[in-house]
Amino acid sequence: MMSTSFDEGEVERIPLCLRSEWSHAQPLPQDYGPNLVVSIAYRDEFRETMEYFHAIYAANEQSYPALEFTTEAIGMNPDNFLTSNFNPRQNLLFFSLPHMSSSSDEDEVERIPLCSRPEWSDVQPLPQDDGPNPVVSIAYRDEFRETMDYFRAIYAADERSCRALELTTEAIGMNPGNYTVWHFRRLVLESLNANLHEERDFVDRITFQNSKNYQIWHHRRWLAEKLGTEAANRELEFTKQVFALDAKNYHTWSHRQWVLESLGGWENELEFCCELLEDDVFNNSAWNQRYFVITRSPLLGGLQAMRDSEVRYTSKIILADPHNESPWRYLRGLYKGEIQMLISDNKVPELCLKVLEINKSNLFALSLLLDLLSRGHQPSDELRAIIGALRSSQDIAGTHGLAATLCLVLEAVDPMRSSYWAWRRTNLPTGVC
């Protein structure tokens, strides 16, 4: 269930009630009170996780198991790129968090209903109009319903006041995916000529709880544009903090790239990529960023200038773990537009052969060798010998060229993609070894 960067399938989750390190804890079920407006269907695992969380939070247990536990609780939010504002589980987690105040700086303040607040007494809240025959009838939790009713009133009246701003804060806190609320908030901020540094502080806090929400990142960008180049460092620093929680967050990477191109700050970017890859060499986003930096940074000289050092860097990493898909693609990308260089540079086939010494049927090495041969690379004796050995070990009968043999080997060691390898074999250019 944890979306960490395993290169195999996920590790099977052991229920908390069976884990010895949690035997001392008595899980606390969520207390919805006597008049349950909303009964929530939690998946059992998620429910259990949150019940344990309630217990450790109530006991204020600050231990290493508790820390690891929060990692697991956070990890139960599967990375769901395109449904960030939809995934009910993510929002369940979010709805739970304010009650636990796990990451907010202020104390949990009991919410006073809007209808009881004197400063709102003049407003007639507007209920959602679903029409006489609602296609979809909606059950709202009372608080949420009330907040949105008041929001609709303010929105319809186009009231751009301080209390309107505070109301959007509350509405966003309850459902940060509601883009209309964000839109209106921007209008209010502009009309009030509000302090954008304070706004950024607010967005910082919200982002950590909703790092896969399109609206929040877009709002961040809007803010950064207004604040100008002085915002660059702060934005880069902020994205770094988000990466500490989720180093592959697509929104965060897009934002960081936008900051670099629009506001600058390239000086330490390559070093940053190195750090991230040291943390997790399987992080494809970091590899992508590395390519972004070496090709676009105004401070580095471009792909041509960087190629040799990057080939050395990447080769070392490949040898350390040849099962990692990303550096292989990166290596290939370093020779973009330079096929002649690729097939005549001995470094690349030598690397593949070294990998095959450690790992006889490494897909990526075999595939890259196939690519080289397909493009006219003249094989060394050593390469011929290795392919000969592979042919024997896979019991491949008949006479085939080197490239065709590689295709047959790949069909055998990567059966899931056997159609692809079979196709490669029938589409080898003529005259290929």
Partner: protein, 314 residues
């Protein structure tokens, strides 16, 4: 292999709005139009579009239109955005009610969101993403109004988002991601520009998304998720490389993501279901030619008979 629980999924979709205790309804209020598209397209693919009353839906959709701009919001009273405008057009196409639209007005809204560099913004606030290029092209194509935009610069912008691995990101330099790839390939397919795609290179990247459990992920070293059964698969179909994945294993993965008791499909086996993943699971099975499911068009993401009705019955 398990079976597709078609009837259960229909029941699930039809009942989802009736669930009084559903957080799902609570949090998706602002994107209900997307939800309508996912739910109704699934019903149509399962040959059960009769389960809903079209007039009420059409009435509600038109209430979602912003009179000033011509664009559609996610629900009544919400601001217009490209995302919901496409869903509105797609649902009306499904229900064969495109006649209710002021085509010029909607098209002008979409066309007005094109930027100098050929990209599209999602709404007046200016967020740019190749998702919006796809949405604009798909929408205008269904309405027969591609002439309102600069198609050449649209294509050029997409090409500028092509990466070294043959894939596409959300912006130039953005990491290749299956969702973005679908949007870019879809845009190129609809505009007759697929020659810009290196089909073999991209085809290989896409078929590498298949994990040991048979499911598809969206980028290297990530977990499989049912929604990629659509994003990856439709892309493969559009570039004619779908035979490069193991279809049987993928079918099994999707079927294992069903809730066989209550209906619906989730992102991975044994997780909570939602309408979004139900749609993508069924759409993926359609592309895999699972029996009993209508064929879906990989570029327009609508049943083929709906697309044919629009383009061939003039």
């Amino acid at each position: 292999m398990g079976e597709l629980e078609g009837k259960k999924h229909v029941q699930y979709i039809v009942s989802v709005e009736k669930k009084k205790d559903s957080f799902e309804a609570l949090v998706i209020e602002h994107l209900r139009l997307n939800g309508a598209y996912w739910g109704l397209t699934t019903l149509d693919l399962l040959n059960e579009i009769e389960a809903v009353k079209p007039d009420e839906i059409v009435q509600w959709i038109m209430q979602c239109q912003d009179i000033g701009s011509g664009g559609f919001g996610g629900n009544v009273g919400h601001d217009p955005h490209l995302l919901y405008t496409l869903s509105a057009v797609q649902v009306l196409a499904l229900l064969n009610r495109l006649d209710v639209l002021d085509i010029d007005k909607v098209s002008d809204y979409v066309a007005g969101l094109q930027n100098e560099d050929g990209s599209f913004s999602g709404d007046m606030w200016g967020e740019v993403d190749t998702r919006f290029s796809y949405i604009a092209i798909c929408c205008l194509s269904l309405l027969g109004q591609l002439s309102k935009i600069n198609v050449e610069s649209t294509v050029n912008y997409i090409v500028s988002c092509k990466n070294l691995d043959g894939g596409f990101g959300s912006i130039p330099g953005g990491e290749s991601h299956a969702g973005q790839i679908f949007c870019c390939v879809g845009t190129l397919a609809i505009t007759g520009s697929l020659h810009h795609v290196d089909r073999d290179l991209l085809g290989w990247w896409l078929c590498e998304r298949q994990c040991k459990d048979g499911g598809l992920n969206g980028r290297p070293e990530k977990l499989a998720d049912v929604c990629y059964s659509w994003w990856v698969l439709s892309s493969l179909v559009m570039i004619d490389r779908v035979h490069w994945i193991d279809k049987e294993k993928l079918t099994r993965f999707i079927l294992n993501c069903q809730d066989k008791e209550n209906g619906g499909i989730s992102d991975r086996p044994d997780n909570a279901v939602d309408v979004y993943h139900t749609y993508f699971g069924v759409a993926g099975l359609s592309l895999l030619e699972y029996p009993g499911i209508k064929s879906i068009d990989p570029a327009y993401a609508l049943p083929v008979d709906v697309v044919n009705r629009i383009f061939f019955s003039k």
